[in-house]
Amino acid sequence: MKQAEIVVVGAGPAGLSAAAAAAQAGAQVLVIDENAEPGGQLFKQIHKFFGASEHRAGQRGVDIGHELLEEVEGLGVEVVLDASVWGIYDGSTVAVASQEYSWRVKADRIVLATGATENGLSFRGWTLPGVMGAGCAQTMMNVHRVLPGQRVVMVGSGNVGLIVAYQLLQAGAEVVAVVDALPRVGGYPVHAAKIARAGVQIYTSYSVKEADGDECVEKVTIWRVDDRWQGVPGSEIELDADTVTLAVGLSPMAELAWVAGCRFLHIPELGGHVPVHSAYMETTVPGIYVAGDVSGVEEASCAMEEGRLAGLWAASAAGRLSVAAAVAAAAPHEASLARLRSGPFGAAARGGKLAMDGRRDEAWGQTLTRGGA
């Protein structure tokens, strides 16, 4: 069986950052990703990132991605692509399926950096061709260079909705409307301002009533929602659109943590069911760490900082870094995370991670129905 000191599952921003930090500490690292290309969602982020200048703010996600990949390759980390991790046994045996065969690797420590998946939203016609996740539209435009549609209604005005709406304009599509059931825009106001001045209409307290069309979206009807989220008859607005992109939240893809026996908590502010983890990014199964959206949905910048933390703590536990050295190495990343999570827009994530701390006993008290620690 193949051996690896540290196996990182997922080559997105969190996974690559974890690999870099662990390799820098001298650990032997293997990264496994089910996609044909590394980078996760990072290479699709063609906008300039926020945060502190000292920590890559102002750089486009796609460029940060290339630098991260170069760093990882330069450190001699092995990256296996087109390989799907489907099981974790005894907290250390990682089972993988490549195209033609299955294989296993024995790991001293495992970092799960598997990201999150886009949520759906049901309304009449939501299954029609033309209704897709906002991330799907972003992938088609920014990776495959194809317009997913030409007249788009964006559902959700969080940062994903606002940013992808702007990217749709950059790609040459028309954004007919941005719709949000909440009475306020959810993402950064400056993102909303960029698209508003380009002529995009933002409807707050509105939701999609239905998408209509013979075999694909041809018309989208939105309506105002009251304070009980009910559509108000008579408030319908018909929009000429061929595409509806859903930016209604992400949920951690934590199946591997589940099958490995990690304990979970349901924390809505973090995206739903999240594997309980400490400030060292370790789950309730010793030797298994989490980083990035799988540990709570935030942004790429947070994913990279958490990845560094998980990587260096996993390397330390594997004997590559003394605790004192790890504490020193972790400090700037913890400071960065605190900065990224500060302010009113970081309140949800802050609250979510704090809730995890406060409810740790609750998680330990749970009876597991499957898997095992």
Binding site: M132, A137, T139, H144, L147, C216
Partner: protein
């Protein structure tokens, strides 16, 4: 190639040079670029229905675009259930609208697939 393809992008620049190939959607030959996923070539060609559901024959196309949800599956070279958003095109590839779960047309030495 057509107006759905983004030849030049304000941030990403020019579309990288790639060899052109031909895939077949039913009896329609479609231009595609080597290495791109089947779904991208179909989107570029304006194809909106990828499959019909088993029970009610309802049309489906894409949802996640990254190989997780299986909304985009089609019959590719006689094999049903192929995720078109993550499967790269090959010259001469045959892609068909999938009806429900599709049928296994291939025979391997006369035995079960």
């Amino acid at each position: 190639m057509n107006e759905r393809r983004i030849e030049i992008h304000p941030i990403l620049g020019l579309r990288p040079e790639r060899r052109q190939v031909t895939i077949h959607f039913g009896d329609r030959p479609l231009p595609a670029y080597e290495g791109e996923p089947i779904a991208a070539a179909l989107l570029a060609a304006g194809i909106r229905v990828f499959r019909k559901t088993s029970k009610r024959g309802e049309p489906r196309q894409l949802f996640c675009g990254i190989g997780r949800c299986t909304d985009c599956v089609m019959i590719v070279d006689d094999l049903p259930g192929v995720r078109t958003c993550v499967t790269p095109v090959r010259d001469g590839m045959r892609v068909e609208e999938q009806d429900g779960r599709g049928r296994w047309e291939r025979e391997r030495g006369g035995g079960e697939p």
